[in-house]
């Protein structure tokens, strides 16, 4: 039997990213496949030029950051809006093959 909430409020889950609990096993596998996965410096060029980003909130910068912080669900949700046009790979100042990276993320983090 669950206790009835007699106080009228509840505890919200913490929004803190607890780095102690982040499991990077999958991200490390991604890094083996894509050595450039840690190379992003979050300049946002990819997002600014992304034709899907203006409407869907898709942002490769955010996807990579979310994966590095263990927020895999958020990342995968965002990636669904990617059309694989490859425009981001044209503007990346670090020369990351972003299109290839996205495909590898999709393979590794695929949802059932």
């Amino acid at each position: 039997m669950t206790m009835e909430n007699i106080f009228g409020f509840s505890i919200s889950p913490s929004s803190t990213v607890n780095l102690d609990n982040v499991d990077l096993t999958l991200f490390n596998r991604l890094h083996e496949l894509e050595p450039d996965a840690w190379k992003c410096m979050s300049c946002g060029s990819c997002t600014a030029t992304c034709p899907a980003g203006n409407f869907s909130g898709m942002s490769l910068r955010k996807v990579l950051h979310a994966l590095q912080r263990g927020k895999e669900k958020d990342a995968v949700k965002m990636l669904r809006c990617c059309m694989l046009c490859g425009k981001c790979s044209m503007v990346c100042p670090r020369g990351i093959n972003t299109r290839h990276l996205i495909l590898s993320i999709c393979k590794l983090y695929k949802e059932d």
Binding site: M41, G44, C46, A48, N54
Partner: protein
Amino acid sequence: MKDNIVIVGGGIAGMEAARQLLKLGYNPIIVEKSDRLGGHVAQWHCLFPDMTPAKDVVSSLIEATGRANIFLNTEISFMNRLKDSYNIMLTNGVSVIAKVVLVTTGFSVFDAGKKEEYGYGVYDQVMTNSDLEHWFNDGNDDRIDGSEMNAIGFVHCVGSRDEKARNPQCSKVCCITAVKQAIEIKKRFPDAMVYCFYMDLRMFGKKYEDFYIAAQRDYGVRFIRGRVSEVSENIEGKVIVKAEDTLAGKPVKVTLDLLVLMAGMVCNPDCSTLAGMVSLQTDSDGFFKSRDNIADITSSSRDGIYYAGACTGPKTVPETLAEARSAALEIHSYINRL
């Protein structure tokens, strides 16, 4: 007889070294490929962070090097090693034997036209940091004089920290130069909105942070953390800039009357020519490679060849001057050892 010292490049590093070498009793010979002394600094308006007029710095150096031999419009045609000196042939037909060659060939400004997505040379209202300094100096540029200035943008890191442009290195001085130019432009157009688009702000030097705070608080320059990905032009000839405001996590778009590209410092193409003559090493960024990047920055891997200033990497004016003095002292002790 006074020892000859050949200085390749008549910018501020070459002149400062010549000044010190004259004081130490040597005969410096400055070889400058252009028709004037002072290099890039001579074309600048004023210098951060105290707004020192660049022409004051250059003219006092020119005055102090008056007794040196100066060859303008001259380059090195070849150079070879003798027993303990170098035989140097200049393009004007003069040949010199010198125990020491000081390389002060400096840097080149990145050709902003190579970043096509920024529209330099394509859209009317796009200029570079050097173009803006020219305007500060002579007040003559159609891009500024011909239109109303309501909104102006600065793009940091153009051609630097950019592997696509084959320049992964940070050009070091553009962050603070953008802050300086944004303040100067705000003084000329107090009612204009001034935006700086940056990836990281590297305010490493003395008083730089104060300068940055002043730009934000006293001049109202707006800093947006996001690299500009592309620029387009609207029907009125204004430029539209697209970036991601990475702090908000949203794409951002703004219409500007003028866009200034902070073109970075890249290696001087003369570097490789000179390096080929006496097999000097260049680094992965194309600049000359010092014997040691910490303890021996002014020495090359070859005896009798020294470096000063931006020929080994992007440097500020005070760093360049300090290195030139340090190289002069190294040269002095090298000659005394021979």
